[in-house]
Amino acid sequence: MNITKKGKFGRFGGQFVPEVLMPALEELEEAYERFKDNPDFKKELDYYLRDFGGRPSPLYHARRLSEKYGLKVYLKREDLIHGGAHKLNNTLGQALLAKYMGKRRLIAETGAGQHGTATAMAGANLGMDTEVYMGAKDTRRQRMNVYRMELMGTKVIPVTSGSQTLKDAINEALRDWVSNVEDSYYLIGSVVGPHPYPTIVRDFQCVIGNEVRQQIMEKEGRLPDSIIACAGGGSNAIGTFHPFIPDTDVKLFAVEAGGSGLKCTDKAALHSASLSVGEEGVLHGARTKILQDPYGQILESHSVSAGLDYSGVGPELAYLAETGRILPVNAEDSEALAAFHELSRMEGIIPALESSHALAYLAKAADSGELGDIVVINLSGRGDKDLEAVLEKVGQL
């Protein structure tokens, strides 16, 4: 719809990658065009999403939260999907595509380990060799996720270059792909990277928004007034928003990690709000909004939630923010932590710290009236993975 032939969303997107990868991206684009509407492929993917992944996920009316904030709040329960997050929608789709393409090996990057875990699940289930790059710092912070991946037969490779976090893991995954393009498939974890990845990942995540649409029509007989989702790379956000983009009465809020405030030091940002305050640049193959210094060196990002801790954002989100169709907002670490505790106590659901940012925006904006009467919040994941991080933070408070 907004996409031109060369994979641009307005002036965002594109393919800024080493020459070696250009033929691989071409092959990927052709394969995706060939298989995405292929009845066998669709049937198989639907089967895995349903019987392996647990789809459709419920749209839950959060009664007590609704009472507190004086509007009707629905939670899209991606936390109930196998693995505990929306990430599996994408990894099943791409792993199956890789299989149809005749690739035998999957490469992925991971920050906190959520996408790595979802890739490990798809890889094990489809019988493919799986290797996941993870910043050495993150492998220490997220030991349990490393172990989860290893249990499923995935090889986790610690990355010691650069800042040893997600952006460096992506760099290393790209370097691996450059060296092994012939038999390997790079399974990227969000709507970032060179064309066609932002489109492919969005399409596989649109299952969220398509279900929301049907479910809200069944429950309310009308569309919601607003939809809120957190945005790191932006895959759960665009997957939820995209089916509603033509419905201009539905407000779409992308909540970024405000970290400890929208400020930067020389080497690092104290936040991950690339959509809100980032500048235009080129990172990991795409022109988009990024956190960078005045020379264009990439700044490290910060967030209490590892899944939002990324210096870039998907190019389609950058485009939609610029046209005003989606509204970039943010929630700081402390606000997300408060929302984390609130949902746990009031609804008996422990949300992922990423999703807690979306919940935090409800708390921030409910009084202003800008959310309208019916709001859908995408609960992108469950918080079991975050208990250690939260304990540590609460200890510090």
């Binding site: 594109g14 393919q15 080493p18 070696v20 370097r175 235009e280 990172l283 020379y295 264009g296 060196q297």
Partner: protein
């Protein structure tokens, strides 16, 4: 000095070009460049360090990190290049975001003002290069494209049409770094890529022996980076050994 003039000069002497890459700001770049040129380097590629160098292997990544830690940035880079007093073509190698952030036109002007006559951007395929190519042309600078072992068909033709200065043939699928085996694919690529633009082969070449075999296969030059950077990283007799290695490789190209 323009790159094409250098290749004409070398052709007259039936020599292959030694193109040396180093990362600016890792060590004393002025001394390093002089040693390389004294040893016989015909063209020098001066890396402008970027925080996220996805096309580079561990050796050059580490060099880039040292340069960044030592405070190298694009302003200092152009100052330093301007002061270099060598009579060989100078080429900047950097990633696209640094060019984009400075502004494409400004970057091309800064290159021209500081004596740079070529630009290599490993993450800028021809599909995205139109705008920069325009400013390069205006400023008398060659935009140098890479050709990989898997670059074929209409994309290859397109690159051959656009390429100026020299074509950078990547010897194998992978990132930069010295390798014992400079793949067989080198010969295959040289046989396949027919053009009047000089063809230089890079990624993995680290010795005179390898350079000789690439030269015999029909290349007009070789690009050597990681092998020089290993010497710089060692900190031991850097200029002496750089000059010696440059001279060893250059002598295999005659």
């Amino acid at each position: 000095m323009r790159i094409s003039d250098k290749f004409i000069e070398l052709k007259g002497r039936k020599e292959g070009a030694l193109i040396a890459y180093v990362c600016t700001g890792d060590g004393d770049t002025g001394e390093i460049v002089h040693a390389l040129v004294k040893g016989g380097a015909d063209i020098v590629e001066l890396g402008l360090p970027f925080s996220d160098p996805i096309a580079d292997g561990p050796t050059i990544q580490a060099s880039i990190q040292r340069a960044l830690d030592a405070g190298m940035n694009p302003d200092k880079y152009f100052d330093m290049v301007r002061k270099l007093d060598v009579d060989v073509p100078l080429v900047v190698m950097t990633y696209y975001n640094l060019i984009f952030k400075r502004g494409l036109e400004q970057f091309a002007k800064d290159c021209s003002d500081s004596g740079i006559t070529g630009i290599i951007v490993p993450d800028l395929p021809p599909e995205e290069s139109g705008e920069l190519a325009g400013y390069c042309e205006k400023n008398g600078i060659d935009l140098i494209f890479l050709v990989a072992p898997n670059t074929k068909g209409s994309r290859l033709e397109d690159i051959l049409k656009r390429g100026t200065g020299f074509l950078y043939l990547v010897s194998r699928l992978g990132v930069t770094g010295a390798r014992a085996d400079v793949a067989l694919s080198t010969k295959e690529v040289l046989d396949r890529v027919k053009t009047d633009t000089p063809r230089a082969v890079g990624f993995g070449i680290s010795s005179g022996e390898q350079a000789a075999s690439v030269f015999k296969s029909g290349a007009d030059g070789v690009i050597v980076g990681s092998a020089f950077i290993d010497i710089i990283a060692s900190g031991q007799d850097v200029t002496g050994r750089l000059q010696a290695l440059a001279s060893e490789i250059k002598s295999s190209l005659r």
